[in-house]
């Protein structure tokens, strides 16, 4: 589109794109590194409880959130670290929350499965599968009522397709043309069960039956996730109603960090194949390098910077104090 005669303009669109894709890459690396450290904290018995790792699915959270504004809403899931980070949460306060510390996003009261950061539009992770479908749809209703052009994104896994709430709220979202996008991260497994054993029929026709625009895409290609979401967000902002986006993806780890022996429900070969041939970080890196938009050293530099940020953040979380016991009955009521 840019003519050669305009080459004296300060930045060519490709340059803008490169900056954006490097940012996207950085966000995905941040999630990957964060989850590696979260796993380490579990294995070293430093973290109380369990956590559900997002590694492998980074392109979905980052691709979607990159298409949103800060004031747009998201609701997240038990596997929610990626969504929080992608929407703008900072690593140190997240580690503090994972470790039950006062400095955490929820002052240590929420933990891994309940991180909420309304300042970045994150209305909270939710430990009830599909439990936030109402909240996301209600946030969209609220945006419409207040006359803002905010959009709400509801992240959920394909396991939530078994929950009735989702269908109730999709029905109302379509009736009332609400600016909500239902992002179904199909990572193939409902906890320890392949989704084909739990889901009859197909996925997108469920949404289409409500008159909701629905698409299925490769959730490992962050550029595709971004471009698709951008289109759906613009549509929603224009008042054209909800959309449903199924992203085919894969979680590298088990259902949670303690789910280590999992060959009874999926093979090591399958895991290896996804890691080697469909890794979202690698896919983007290869595209950027092959297209000569950047070179490997730039990506390595990003990786090193992020690793150092994540290590610092983890140390911050470890060093942070626990909440005072007097806080146990604070904030029960507003």
């Amino acid at each position: 589109m840019t003519k050669k005669t305009e080459s004296n303009t300060k930045s060519r669109p490709e340059a803008v794109d490169v900056e954006q894709w490097l940012h996207v890459y950085e966000q995905m690396v941040k999630i990957r590194e964060f989850e590696e450290k979260a796993n380490e904290l579990y294995l070293k018995a430093i973290m109380p409880g369990l956590t559900h790792l997002y590694s492998g699915q980074e392109a979905v959270a980052v691709g979607v959130c990159e298409a949103l504004r800060r004031e747009d809403y998201i609701t997240s899931t038990h596997r929610g670290h990626g969504h929080c980070l992608a929407k703008g949460a900072s690593v140190d306060l997240m580690f503090a929350e994972l470790l039950g510390k006062e400095a955490g996003y929820c002052r240590g009261k929420g933990g891994s499965m309940h991180i909420a950061d309304p300042a970045s539009g994150n209305l909270g992770a939710n430990a009830i599968v599909g439990g936030s479908a109402g909240i996301a749809t209600g946030a969209a209703l609220s945006a419409k009522k207040r006359g803002s052009d905010q959009v709400a994104v509801c992240f959920f896994g394909e396991g939530a397709l078994g929950q009735g709430l989702l269908y109730e709220v999709m029905n109302m979202a379509s009736l009332w043309k609400l600016p909500v996008i239902y992002v179904c991260e199909n990572n193939l497994y409902n906890e320890y069960t392949h989704y084909s054993e739990a889901l009859a029929g197909e996925v997108t026709p469920r949404a289409k039956a409500f008159g909701i625009h629905a698409e299925t895409i490769d959730g490992q290609d962050v550029q595709l996730v971004y471009e698709t979401t951008k289109r759906l967000v613009e549509r929603a902002r224009r008042g054209e109603g909800p959309a449903f986006l199924e992203c085919m993806t894969y979680r590298y780890y088990g259902h949670h960090v303690g789910d280590i022996s999992r060959t009874y429900y999926r093979s090591k070969e399958e895991e290896q194949e996804w890691r080697e041939t469909r890794d979202p970080l690698k896919i983007l890196a290869d595209k950027l390098v092959a297209g000569k938009l950047t070179d490997q050293s730039v990506l390595d530099h990003i990786q090193a910077d992020v690793r150092s940020e994540v290590e610092k953040g983890m140390q911050f979380g470890i060093d942070a104090p626990y909440p005072d016991q007097s806080e146990v009955n604070e904030d029960v009521y507003a």
Binding site: R107, G108, G124, A133, I135, G138, D331
Partner: protein, 330 residues
């Protein structure tokens, strides 16, 4: 007051509270099944859609969990929804959204989020509506930290408490007795609200304390009148909200009278009566001349046949008999 004494029905008082709050605050809206033109099956909301339009009096599909959840989402993003759950029995359908979502969101977020939302619902048997439209499930919601629970017993209380509920920054379950909608009572034309956690002494007495909620307040007042005819002076106390609970008012009353009966239309087992009785037993133990008695619904699914249904809830007669016997009179 210069205005002549004004009487409204319970339903009119509820409607007036909603209308006043909707005029006062554009963020307040109503959502539920058949709330607009139909005004609910009980006609409590009749006329509101004409004044406020369908955007603020929103009819929903028959999807209780769905519209309850949507209400929670609207509440955490700046609105003040009033969710209409037609029959209290349908609370069971909405439990995840009320209990796991609305009630916990403030605490789980370390105080960063809040859900100012009212769940208006109903309770009460003897309407010949059988087992799935007659329960009084206040104990279920009173059990949950993070919820407030309101049980008005007069038109005056209904209006003042509902206005407070709508202005509260927490999720509030507001339970109305279906059998009281036509009951008339004094409601001033002037603006007023009633704070939560303040019990009301509905009748003063010296010999026995009757702590009663919602539908059971009239029953207790009727029993007190009968008791007065045999020389027993009963004090009737209405907690008005089970959460927060004004413990001190009825502990003080029990200390004064030395005898207490707690009456609530919910099931007796593990019910509101159990909680209130334990509060009295704990707070007034050394002053009591008799064990604290509890009267709730019989622990059976509410039967349809009038011959059976009427046996399941406390009445003026059964309360009168219990009080008489507790006072050592036969």
């Amino acid at each position: 007051m210069s205005t002549p004494e004004r009487e409204l029905t319970f339903a009119e008082a509820v409607r007036e509270a909603l209308a006043e709050e909707m005029r006062r605050d554009p963020n307040v809206f109503i959502m539920g099944e058949d709330v607009a033109e139909a005004g609910t099956p009980f006609k409590v909301l009749s006329g509101l859609v004409e004044e406020f339009g369908k955007e603020r009096v929103m009819d929903t599909p028959i999807s209780e969990p769905g519209f309850t959840g949507i209400g929670v989402g609207a509440a955490v993003t700046g609105m003040r929804p009033v969710i209409d759950i037609m029959f209290g029995d349908f609370l069971t359908l909405t439990m995840d959204q009320i209990v796991n979502q609305a009630a916990k969101i403030h605490y789980m977020s370390g105080g960063k989020m809040k859900a100012p939302i009212v769940f208006r619902t109903t309770m009460g048997a003897t309407r010949r509506s059988a087992a799935q439209h007659s329960q009084s499930l206040q104990a279920w919601v009173s059990h949950v930290p993070g919820l407030k629970v309101v049980m008005p017993s007069t038109p005056y209380d209904a209006k003042g408490l509902l206005k407070t509920a709508i202005r509260d920054d927490n999720p509030v379950v507001f339970i109305e007795d279906k059998m009281m909608f036509k009951m008339k009572g004094f409601v001033p034309a002037e603006e007023y609200t009633i704070p939560f956690g303040v019990a009301d002494i509905k009748r003063r007495g010296e010999d026995i304390t009757l702590v009663a909620t919602s539908s059971m307040v009239q029953v207790a007042l009727g029993a007190a009148e009968k008791l007065s005819q045999i020389g027993i002076s009963a004090e009737v106390i209405d907690p008005r909200t089970t959460s927060p609970l004004d413990k001190q008012t009825f502990i003080n009353s029990a200390k004064k009278t030395s005898r207490a009966i707690v009456i609530d239309e919910g099931y007796e087992a593990y019910g509101v009566t159990a909680e209130l009785a334990s509060v009295i037993a704990d707070g007034a133990f050394y002053y009591l001349d008799a064990p604290v008695k509890r009267m709730g619904a019989m622990d059976v699914p509410i039967p349809f046949s009038p011959a059976l249904e009427d046996l399941t809830v406390p009445t003026e007669e059964t309360v009168f008999e219990m009080a008489k016997s507790l006072c050592g009179r036969n």
